[in-house]
């Protein structure tokens, strides 16, 4: 992910208008969203660790799923994060599988 596209060195805050809203996403179309971590669940799948992180923006929420991980450094409740990947539909809303992520202040 190109961090320069989103951040100018004199501006630590990313403009919100750069990212599409979660509610406007088209499934299976590569995208990046920005939101806050509102829930983290560690769920074993077939006995192996899986991390589910629910991310919310002004329009709704999506879940980032990381296979085989128990935690991701810095990805804590309340953290603002950008998620980049291809969303898929699921029973619980849109999911991103092993997305690229960028921690924001």
């Amino acid at each position: 992910m190109n961090i320069f596209r989103r951040q100018r060195s004199d501006s630590p805050v990313v403009e919100e208008s750069v990212y599409p809203l979660i509610a406007s996403l088209t499934p299976r179309s590569k995208t990046a969203i920005r939101g806050r971590v509102v829930r983290i669940v560690r769920q074993p799948t077939q006995g192996l660790p899986t991390l589910l992180v629910r991310i919310e923006d002004a329009s709704g929420a999506a879940t980032a799923v990381w296979l085989g991980r128990r935690s991701i450094g810095g990805l804590d409740l309340g953290r603002t994060v950008v998620i980049e990947g291809v969303p898929m539909t699921s029973a619980t809303g849109l999911r991103f599988l092993n997305p690229a992520y960028t921690l924001l202040p």
């Binding site: 992910m1 190109n2 961090i3 320069f4 951040q7 100018r8 060195s9 501006s11 630590p12 192996l48 660790p49 990381w66 296979l67 085989g68 991980r69 935690s71 991701i72 450094g73 810095g74 990805l75 804590d76 953290r79 092993n98 997305p99 690229a100 992520y101 960028t102 921690l103 924001l104 202040p105």
Partner: protein, 220 residues
């Protein structure tokens, strides 16, 4: 340290011999017994013939969460499987995988597995991942006053701004993440898996290493 090297080709056998000479407990896994010949007569580590992502084979190699595992077979896919089994099934923290295809490497980095490209490979690169503070600098100026060090960020450094580690004697000059390398703004927050090149004096890098691994406040 107990170290498991999967793949006894030129790379694997070289690392195995080097690490053994440093006194570590080495186990080499390869599908093909003949490959062990590359280790030479005086190799005293253990050899296990078998498939590196097979649970029984890894158990036979004595894998524990404290082991270090290096997947350096000639197959990218095998290396990723070995890395994931070691980390997910056996809880190994120190895992490195060699990936020939740079595009694949970028994707696998998102699985949180430290990958090393073959083209730029030296045993140093793999060792950089397993022994972060002991590897030699990649560059030094003629008077040896300043050095560039490669550093891999883990969970303890994640979430902290590069700002925090920037001083007059220490600057992060390159940040590699998900296959993209850039000169980072100091406002960027570090993440688990980031590969940094740090320009610093030797005193400053020691402080950097200490600061980046220290557990601070709410960071777990």
């Amino acid at each position: 340290m107990h170290m498991i090297i999967v793949g006894c080709g030129r790379v694997g056998s070289t690392i195995a011999r080097e690490l053994q000479s440093q006194g570590h407990e080495i186990v080499v896994i390869d599908r093909n017994k003949d490959a062990f010949r590359r280790l030479g007569e005086d190799f005293i580590g253990r050899k296990v013939a078998g498939i590196g992502f097979d649970r029984a084979v890894l158990e036979e190699a004595g894998i524990t969460p404290d082991s270090a595992v290096m997947a350096v077979t000639s197959g990218d896919n095998s290396n990723i499987m070995i890395a994931r089994v070691a980390r997910e099934m056996f809880g190994v923290q120190r895992v490195a995988a060699r990936i020939y295809d740079p595009k694949r490497a970028a994707i696998y980095q998102r699985l949180g597995i430290a990958t090393v490209a073959t083209v730029a490979w030296t045993s140093n690169q793999i060792l950089n991942i397993v022994f972060p503070q002991q590897s030699s600098p990649t560059w030094t100026n003629p008077t040896s006053s300043h050095f560039i060090y490669e550093r891999h960020i883990h969970a303890s450094g994640a979430g902290r701004a590069i700002d925090e580690f920037t001083t007059e004697e220490c600057r992060v000059v390159l940040l590699g993440r998900n296959g993209v390398t850039q000169i980072p703004p100091t406002t960027v927050l570090l993440q688990d898996g980031d590969v940094l090149h740090v320009l610093a004096t030797s005193a400053a890098i020691a402080m950097f290493d200490h600061a980046v691994t220290a557990h601070q406040g709410s960071h777990s």
